[in-house]
Symmetry: C2
Subunit: 215 residues, 2 copies
């Protein structure tokens, strides 16, 4: 009997643990690292998913105050849930690019927009002096044989309209990258900027002439 109770207890405990885990192992690893790493009022924080995560931004800008807070695969709710580790340091600026994985997961546009609104409100509440830079979700090109689940141009455009509207409502900067990355006359990511070549992203998104002056 004691063995059975012990067995049940362990089984329930393990189930409990499994159920408590809302995000991936990678998310938990990065988020727990971010809890440890300080953010200061001199910092410019890039927040987002794999597009942010994959860059070594402080090297590209040669600026140690640029902090990478990207998590590959992250969604809008994931950003909200780990925002405290960033806002508690009251950074100078936050650049946000989030939503493409939400769309791939079929999360309704309304829910994504609500989460992004919650993110803006939390930044404003925790750190009113932080400059907020909202970026549009980028187009996708299924011809590259990857991220085809992200290829929902109507959803992307609809979400971007919501992000732009939120940006105006809350008086943040809106950076509309979407048209910059389009193949002319289509809804597809330009083949000149393939997902396979991250350099182009890096250069054109953050160190191109359109954005550099923001840093």
């Amino acid at each position: 009997m004691r063995k059975l109770i012990a067995f049940l207890f362990i089984t329930l405990a393990l189930n409990g643990l499994a159920q408590e885990r809302k995000y991936s192992t990678f998310y938990e690893q990065r988020a727990s690292l971010f809890n440890l790493l300080p953010v200061s009022s001199d910092d410019i924080v890039f927040v987002g998913n794999s597009i942010t995560n994959g860059g070594e931004w402080h090297e590209l800008f040669e600026d140690k105050h640029i902090k990478n807070r990207g998590i590959s695969g992250d969604i809008s709710e994931g950003v909200y849930d780990r925002l405290e580790s960033i806002t508690k340091g009251k950074p100078k600026k936050i650049f946000l690019m989030i939503g493409t994985n939400d769309i791939a997961k079929n999360i309704p546009i309304n829910t994504i927009a609500e989460n992004i609104e919650k993110i803006i409100l939390k930044i404003k509440e925790d750190s009113p002096e932080t400059g907020i830079y909202m970026q549009s979700v980028l187009p996708v090109n299924p011809d590259f044989k990857m991220f085809s689940g992200h290829m929902k141009p109507d959803s992307i455009k609809s979400l971007n309209r919501r992000i732009e509207k939120l940006s105006h409502t809350y008086n943040t900067v809106y950076i509309d990258l979407y048209p910059e990355f389009l193949m002319q006359g289509t809804d597809k990511l330009s083949p000149g900027i393939p997902m396979t070549d991250f350099i182009f992203w890096v250069k054109d998104i953050y160190i191109g002439p359109r954005l550099y002056h923001l840093i």
Copy 2:
């Protein structure tokens, strides 16, 4: 006929492209970024797989000369193939931790050791002044319900003996992290250092008292 030729040409070209791709999209993205980012003789470069990739090392050490050249999922051959982008800058030190994904992919220990030897030889040839720090492969714990494919303790121990031998042969520093991370009396990663909590890795691997003086 012209259409058929065009079709065949495009099909063959696409096949050719597909066959040319040796590594994952993520590898290509990171490797192409690394080609763009400079490395200097003041730099300390951390080279490896996800264990390296996941950290924001320059923040942890508060040292802008620490460069992250990790690629999640990378193997010994992958490191060799992208080594030029690092050695051409003739960095001060290179810390290498590679091999656990090779083992998960059932690459023979002999092949992994040969690749690691090639890595050491290339560093020595391209940049003789670079300090080389070889790290052992870490234990794994399948109880964490992930990385169970990496749980081949005999292979890990065998590879570590080869890395240690290579380190002595080529007069590099060997850092034996393996025993530090074991659960006593087992071949498993200590549950005190779960894969789910990256902080512990970060702290104990690189900023713990055993290693800090190396930087």
